[in-house]
């Protein structure tokens, strides 16, 4: 089975995030890492491959340096990486990003396309829906357990009221949650071998995507203004001297919240 995993390089969780006031885009120059739930998607793909054979290919849209982060997923056990890196793609919104990724995925013709549930920077949690729609493939999202018999895929979906179990014929698109597995650490052998795994960098032209359809030109949204969130309202700090519970209760009652 051929599995494509969409992964995104995001600013490292420990790095302070900054938005460039000029371009109104996230500053991506600092420490970077692979988006955390995308590692769950990579792990799941590798497990499927280990159990049933096949190939795991990483697909990403991002700057050239995103290759560094893709290396980690290659070291974990993915077979090759395809990075779409093109100046003209910078500033793509959901519509433009999904167009480019769909074009890259069309080229791969994978049986199963895996996504992480959400990115830690954009936090849209919606890209997989847009991509599945463009590919005209069924979609299961928020998947906490996944099985496949080679012709269908079944996902256990976490919802507010419990689990939904949903099956879809392959080829399909699945977005996984971080509950699905515990991503492995790359082994030293994996790390040393990652360099020699195929890593392709493609331009928009390679994918047949018109530059006018990508980046800001191809986006349907425009960021008009950015501002800090409003300051937090009045807050009360209670130090526990044994009466904290009572004080919290009084506070809530006073505000008619209880």
């Amino acid at each position: 089975m051929k599995i494509a995993v969409c992964v995104k390089q995001v600013p490292d969780a420990t790095a302070a995030k900054r938005i460039d006031p000029e371009t109104k885009r996230l500053d991506r120059s600092g420490e970077a890492a692979l988006n955390a739930t995308d590692l769950n998607a990579v792990e799941e793909a590798i497990r499927l491959k280990e159990a049933q054979g096949g190939e795991v290919v990483l697909v990403s849209l991002g700057p050239e340096r995103a290759l560094e982060s893709l290396r980690k997923a290659l070291a974990m056990g993915a077979d090759r990486a395809v990075l779409v890196a093109d100046e003209a793609a910078a500033g793509s919104d959901l519509v433009a990003t999904s167009r480019i990724l769909a074009a890259a995925l069309e080229r791969e013709q994978a049986d199963l396309v895996l996504f992480g549930q959400a990115s830690s920077d954009g936090d849209g949690a919606v890209l997989w829906a847009a991509v599945a729609d463009r590919l005209r493939r069924p979609l299961i999202s928020q998947v906490a357990a996944l099985t496949t018999d080679g012709s269908t895929v079944t996902g256990k979906r976490q919802t507010e009221h419990g689990y939904d179990t949903i099956s879809a014929p392959l080829p399909a698109v699945v977005a996984v949650s971080d509950a699905i597995n515990e991503p492995r650490y790359p082994s030293l052998k994996g790390i040393m071998g990652a360099k020699s795994k195929p890593q392709e960098t493609l331009s928009l032209a390679d994918l047949g995507v018109d530059a006018a359809e990508a980046g800001e030109a191809g986006s349907r949204t425009t960021v008009l203004a950015l501002g800090p969130p409003p300051a937090r309202g009045e807050s009360l700090k209670i130090e526990d001297d044994g009466s904290a519970a009572q004080k919290i209760l009084d506070y809530l009652v006073e505000r008619r919240l209880l």
Binding site: E68, R71, K72, A75, Y185, P186, L188, I191, M192, A194
Partner: protein, 378 residues
Amino acid sequence: MDFDLTPEQELIRDTVRTFARDRVQPVAAELDREGRFPYELVAELGELGLMGIPIPERFGGAGGDTVSYALAIEELARVDSSLAITVAAHTSLGTMPILLFGTDEQRERWLPDLAAGRRLAAFGLTEPGAGSDAGNTRTTAELRDGTWVVNGSKIFITNAGTDITWGVTITARTGEDEISSLVVETGTPGYGISPPMKKLGWRASDTRELSFENCVVPEGNLLGERGAGFRQFLEILDGGRISVAAMGLGLAEGAYELAFAYAREREQFGRPISSFQAVQFRLADMATEIEAARGMVYRAAWLKDQGRPFAREAAMAKLYTGELSARVASAALLIHGGYGFMEESAISRLYRDQKVLEIGEGTNEVQRMVIARHLGLP
């Protein structure tokens, strides 16, 4: 000139850093308190290929370079010195003699299990009467009817007595003015291993006294040439110093990070103590010296990887990081005030674990002797 790590080295550092944070940190204090050897962690490190980083792939190792190895030891020591020394002693002292001096037959027989971390190796050089003067070995090995008969004792030997210890490479006198290296496998009749020694630090690591009473070792367990033992152990110690230096660097970093976090959180006189210049200067000095140490350690490792002479730089890095880690651990503890003196504080464990870095694999004085010799002094 290029100060950047390669992408592989960076990924190794990040992997071990995450492993240390997620898997080691949560149990380090408990392992130390109970003096419990970290079997589970060693097994996990083995799976990841971290128990045989610089061992070539054809012997089951990862085929990594010395810089990667130093980075891994540094990251472990940042969080837990007991685990770091377990890996470092196993790799640099226990496994290296087989790789460097063994025949192909010996290497194929012993290395795969060691490089995978399924078995642990020890290095028995120090004796009650031969510490800094390690050439003063009193243990003897006599070749009788095609077997070595070993008599004598060793002390302070790391990894010698765990449930998965494969054996120990010892130095022994095989004649007048003749020292040779011999492999003694665990379970050999006449080979005795004491209960674990009780220590100030490195409490989760395994340290033993060894005794040999008419211990019969196959003739084929001689490592390298008969009589080469003195030169061999000097060569092992040269390489080992890089990993002990990496431990000093890692411990200093770990202590600095604890002090930094505590200083920003702790308030006295109505503000964080990190706003007092005296505390700031302490942290600034620590950060500066750590930066210098990092350069020394990585450069010694890099020289070794280039196949260039590195013994002088390795001894300098070991000396500097040993003394630096003492300064940093002490200052970091003081920044914690009375809380730092309490057993449950992380800094107190690092403080205890630090001292042996100025003793093991050559005391500060021995490093200075080695450096002086490299300077051409008589």
